[in-house]
């Protein structure tokens, strides 16, 4: 179940936002009602339904999502409904999630708390 959002977006859709390759992006990204897949480097804020940080992906900043899958590197504040940190994932910082899964081998450094029902 946890791998689903990852598989859903492995083919290119026009609606999905992909940040791939050696790209470096800085700023604020709002994926709207669509997923965001990051395999490059992103510094800043991301808001989307699904946020997937792939193995080569590196995100520093704030991520707000319904589902987050982290195969790569994340540093900052992460607020989501459900979070999956896979075996290659590294998460540093503050995590707020209601459903959490951390695979064996993953690195999670920082604080973990539940999402406050009031704040979205």
């Amino acid at each position: 179940m946890s791998a689903k959002p990852y598989e859903q977006v492995t083919s290119l859709h026009e609606d999905t936002t992909y940040i791939l390759g050696d790209l470096i992006m800085e700023g604020a990204l709002d994926g709207g009602d669509h997923p965001v897949v990051i395999d490059g480097q992103f510094n800043g804020d991301i808001t989307a339904t699904d946020v997937i940080i792939r193995q080569q992906g590196k995100v520093t900043g704030t991520v707000k999502a319904k589902t987050a899958v982290i195969n790569g590197h994340f540093n900052g504040n992460l607020i989501c409904e459900s979070l999956n940190v896979t075996a290659t994932g590294i998460v540093e910082g503050e995590v707020q999630a209601n459903a959490l899964s951390i695979d064996l081998g993953a690195e999670v450094i920082g604080s973990i708390s539940r999402v406050n029902a009031k704040s979205k």
């Binding site: 026009e14 790209l23 470096i24 992006m25 800085e26 669509h34």
Partner: protein
């Protein structure tokens, strides 16, 4: 992974504000407000790009506003471009709306000159002294004949 390659896509409905560096191939279907250097840029029909682009090839089907410096520009029928356009080759489909300043950089040298001129939003026009040299005052023919 290989399927996706190194293409970056800003999806429809997505909004990005900031800086993009090191891009190779980028497709914009959402709203982007950024400065961008890339090899190939595509602005989709629903795409909205605001900011400077420097690229080898730019295909515009959506809205563009800003300073574009490109080797080849293809404005498709649904394109709408405003701002400034520096190009080497330009293709414009019937229906494309260009509402901008267009400069043709035939040589790389001119392109560089145009780039430096961008700071003061000027054209790479010949200076008055150049004009005097290059024909505003035509040199007397058959001098010394």
């Amino acid at each position: 992974m290989d399927k996706l390659g190194s293409k970056t896509v800003i999806g429809a409905g997505a909004t990005f504000t900031g800086k993009i560096a090191n891009a190779r191939v980028i497709e914009v279907h959402g709203k982007v407000n950024a400065d961008l250097t890339a090899e190939k840029v595509t602005i989709g029909e629903a795409g909205h790009f605001d900011g400077a682009i420097r690229a080898d090839l730019v295909v515009v089907s959506g809205h563009y506003e800003g300073k574009m410096q490109a080797g080849s520009v293809w404005a498709t029928a649904t394109a709408s471009i405003s701002g400034k356009l520096h190009y080497e080759t330009l293709q414009m489909d019937r229906g494309a709306a260009l509402n901008c300043h267009i400069v043709h950089n035939w040589t790389a040298k001119n392109a560089v000159a145009a780039q430096t001129d961008n700071n003061d939003a000027g054209l790479p026009l010949a200076t008055p002294s150049d004009k005097a040299k290059n024909g505003a005052v035509p040199p007397p023919p058959e001098e010394g004949a």
